[in-house]
Symmetry: C2
Subunit: 292 residues, 2 copies
């Protein structure tokens, strides 16, 4: 751990019974760029380590979005759970075209490790989140127990949560949940664009690690997944999310509603108003497993 980069504290805010701190550090995994993240730690009054929920945000978002708008902290403080908010992509990689579109490149890292040469130096959000952040936070002495982790996210971040959970060979996360996730990205425009842009093998390569529906089709492990989406969500209506595909594959793999629960909510949309409504449900869902 002694070779971990130093964390620099950018800002700090007391919120509910906890402290939200923004850090930055030189990320080796992201090609030496500055990486920012927010970390909420409940004030537990002793040195005991707390379990952690990793929140992955959606397209165009940053490490601030979920912290500012999610409404997670009251229940997280009450449950004595930390929340880690990574960014959604490297920033300033300088790859030609990375800033041209809102749904690819900057702000749209898709929680994968790129294999195309022009992206593979910097666009490695999967390893950044699963390996680098736990290492640098632990090395800094922050009292987080990374043996008790779960993961959740929104939209592209819901895709990230489901795929990092299902693809983990080490069972890194105890549970996963998602708000309006991109659930079958090899079959939707956002996913096709991302995979064909970042991966040498395009959507075919993505089927191995980065498509939640494909992953659950091949899964037989015990799992704990909660998904919420709203019927008023325009991206759902446009076929970007496809939660039905994921649910069908889950049931065909033998998972019942206690292992994979997908809830449809009348009239709710894709916004953080929707997320904040069900924020408490999700934190409590994960608390079942994190506090066990």
């Amino acid at each position: 751990m002694s070779n971990q980069p130093a964390l620099e504290k950018v800002s700090s805010n007391r919120v509910f019974e906890g402290e939200l701190t923004k850090y930055k550090f030189k990320s080796a995994v992201l090609g030496g760029l500055d990486a920012h993240f927010n970390l909420f730690v409940p004030l537990i009054g002793n040195d005991a380590k707390v379990p952690v929920l990793v929140y992955l945000a959606g397209l165009t978002c940053t490490e601030d979005t979920g912290a500012q708008k999610g409404g997670f902290f009251g229940v997280a403080a009450a449950q004595n759970i930390a929340i880690l908010f990574p960014d959604t992509s490297p920033r300033g990689a300088g790859v030609p075209g990375e800033d041209a579109d809102w749904d690819f490149g900057t702000g749209a890292g898709f929680y994968l490790d790129a294999t195309k040469p022009e992206y593979s130096k910097h666009y490695n959000m999967a390893t950044h989140i699963t390996e680098e952040l736990p290492q640098v936070i632990t090395a800094a002495g922050i009292p987080i127990d990374f043996t008790r982790q779960s993961v959740f996210g929104h939209s592209m971040g819901g895709h990230g949560a489901l795929t990092l959970y299902l693809a983990s060979k080490t069972k890194q996360y105890r549970s996963a949940s998602a708000f309006a996730p991109i659930s079958n990205p090899t079959n939707c425009p956002w996913g096709e664009k991302a995979f064909n842009g970042y991966l040498q093998g395009g959507t075919t390569e993505a089927l191995e690690k980065y498509d939640a529906t494909a992953l659950i089709s091949k899964s037989s492990d015990p799992i704990h997944i909660l998904i919420d989406y709203g019927t008023g969500d325009n991206f759902y209506k446009q076929g970007q999310l496809l939660p039905e595909n994921f649910l069908k594959a889950a049931r065909e793999s033998g998972y019942d509603e206690f292992q994979v629960r997908v809830r449809s909510h009348d009239s709710y949309d894709h916004s953080y108003y929707f997320i904040s409504t069900f924020a408490s449900d999700h934190v409590h869902f994960h608390a079942n497993f994190l506090k066990a």
Copy 2:
């Protein structure tokens, strides 16, 4: 009511057990400019009118800030209370210099009616909030009971909440509360700049209607006020807020802690992280009076 301007629906989001709708209309009080506001209405399942809390945001904010970051909707829905979020100033008045500073002009209307000629056509947020918005919303048939109103706000909006409450000759609001309010603006740089800019009589004129500390010094009516601020608030430390002045004047006017409660919170700052922490307290405080 038949002469009220038509409300145009800009957007709508389901949130908790309610609906948040953004409207715009041509505001006569703001000199014919388009005015925007957000209105949260709980889904009560019948046509009964609901009481309403008016939320006034701070410098640089808009009608969206409190809606997106305040964390008010869960408890408001549970308490069956609507929340009205006005903007913080007219937009596009075209007064020379109105966009030069972040703490004066656009985004900084200070919830007063300007008397200087160059501002008096457009900068009339006091009348916009106390008279025009209730009229246009009622005329549109939205089921809000404006005989049951209370008001709260943040920073400049806390100033607005306290002064609109204390200065109302008609007892328009049943209670007022504030997060980190500018409590004695004739004695702080923000207030001096605003009053000398908007009012012909400057801070002297402001003492009559727009300084909460001056107003409570002259008050003997029964009142219900709650104020929260954090000791980690840089604007508090800089002397922009001066809640102690307000508290001292309140006690000298004979108000006890049940009529005027001012709470200091260790380490909390000026951000919406602070506001969201105490959001539930404030909504419940007002519910005592709105549901009576």
